[in-house]
Symmetry: C2
Subunit: 337 residues, 2 copies
Amino acid sequence: MIKLAIDAMGGDNAPEITVKGAMLAVQNFKDIELTLYGDEEKIRALLTNPERITIVNAPKQIDMGEKDPVSEIRRNKDTSMVMAFSAVKNKEAAGVVTAGPTQGAIVAAHIVVRRIKGMKRVALCPNVPSFRKGGSIMLDVGANTEIKAEHMLQHAQFASIFYRETRGVESPKVALLNIGSEPGKGRDLEKEVFKLLSDNKNINFVGNLEPKELLTSDVDIILTDGFTGNIAMKTFEGSAKAMGMGLKKQIKSSIPAMIGGLLMKKALKRFKRQFSADEIGGANIFGVDGVIVKAHGSSNDFAFMNAINQARVVILGDVVEKMKKIISENPLSDDEA
Amino acid sequence: MIKLAIDAMGGDNAPEITVKGAMLAVQNFKDIELTLYGDEEKIRALLTNPERITIVNAPKQIDMGEKDPVSEIRRNKDTSMVMAFSAVKNKEAAGVVTAGPTQGAIVAAHIVVRRIKGMKRVALCPNVPSFRKGGSIMLDVGANTEIKAEHMLQHAQFASIFYRETRGVESPKVALLNIGSEPGKGRDLEKEVFKLLSDNKNINFVGNLEPKELLTSDVDIILTDGFTGNIAMKTFEGSAKAMGMGLKKQIKSSIPAMIGGLLMKKALKRFKRQFSADEIGGANIFGVDGVIVKAHGSSNDFAFMNAINQARVVILGDVVEKMKKIISENPLSDDEA
């Protein structure tokens, strides 16, 4: 049995969608057992089928408006998020799923679950909307604002194991997000990472990737630093938002366009869904000693079930243990913790 | 009379569209005189109305595939681009317009026209597609890969003068592109720039801007370093491309959607145009002693005329001289050239 801890109170529509998502998950995946952390009374009222689901009362929630997530996490050990993450730390669960605030999850990953020994930086790794079956993943998109080249090499190694074990691709293609496709492009950081990736025989490095190919390339893993990755993800979000607005405006611009828009209603819905954050699935937090999936705050029950399955698949692939092996064989001399 | 140098051979469809664009420009703007640099024979064959247009023969063109633009520019002084830029250096023209390669234009700006004394870095500053009349400009999007905070302050000053003089906005709003909207977000660079902008009384600094608001905010000037800005612009391009593909696919997905797509044909064309690079206009290269407008490589004659007008408006606004004054009053102690 795979044991997973669920932050039942995280996200915009908790605990309704988290409890429904949990019930969907146990129904679809017979090898999982869930512990839901949150307001016991509320959860019990929603839990129509408690099979393989346990509730642990967590009286408080992480404050979304909190400006200092570190002290918030440190101070509030009785929140649903911290209690669920602690279950991973204490080996009561192999993984945790939360739809709570991203910064809170990253901080809790650091200070509650803690990094794998020798792993220098954690990374936030979402799926990238893509036309391709399987699709791309990108990391880091915001766990670090400044990073060294050798830490990015570890991220590439982690992501390669993850992609291989969860998507069944033997030798996933890794590209470096950069301002030009030719070697020698970018800042000193990109130039160093380019060299490290080129020299590493265990990474299938395919070179630089320009962001204009971000959603349409056949690359599996897009490597970048947390600042740049965050800018790219949010620029995509902003572009999608602006283009959605522009399309709506044009549909309203004439009678034929309005009729056309009505006829295209279903197709436009599918179009919207294809680029919607909710459909992209959860993001993994790599680098800690346990599996963490951060579902979107606006997840519905189906998306939350998918996030739970995402944690399940990473555990089945034994990704964390395989990364530990690589780290012990390739220790970084870096003197930082 | 405003004298402008035109690189008649730059761009995907030169000299056809550059010559047509030049003729459109002199027709619409009675205060300009153009010198076209390029293949004299070809230009003369296209030039049906030579009023206020002179041709100077430039036997060669910058090679688009060139890997080392610096030596390319240095070696080939008889290319249409270098000759047109030299006209600005020699004060034969107040500005230059090219649809040639961006990196070539940035290098020629540096080593042919040269920076304003005391201006530490040039910047590439395009318009950002926007729903708002006037719209936003963003800089730097690729003239520099690494930059210091005080150089970005100069960019903000330059852009503020530019925006005021060319758009008639007395106190243009400047925002810093960042991974969060709250103060204190970002790398050391963003934190330093945030402080410099906050402390400067001549800049209307409105705080951090997240890229998810890139196309929909009411900010006039979006400040960023050249690496991040390039990533953001290219991510927008990639998003637009992927969403265009996704929309096309959905239109073909069912009979009603196909009919709907036909009825929306004109509206969809307007939608496409709204986010097309060609409609956004040329990018300015700020920081050199003269006005440089880089039109899109795929410009049509109308877009190229607009680029010529863009140079004209910057000259009418006396932007370069006003920036020189600010620099002389606020010299940077930085010991770099």
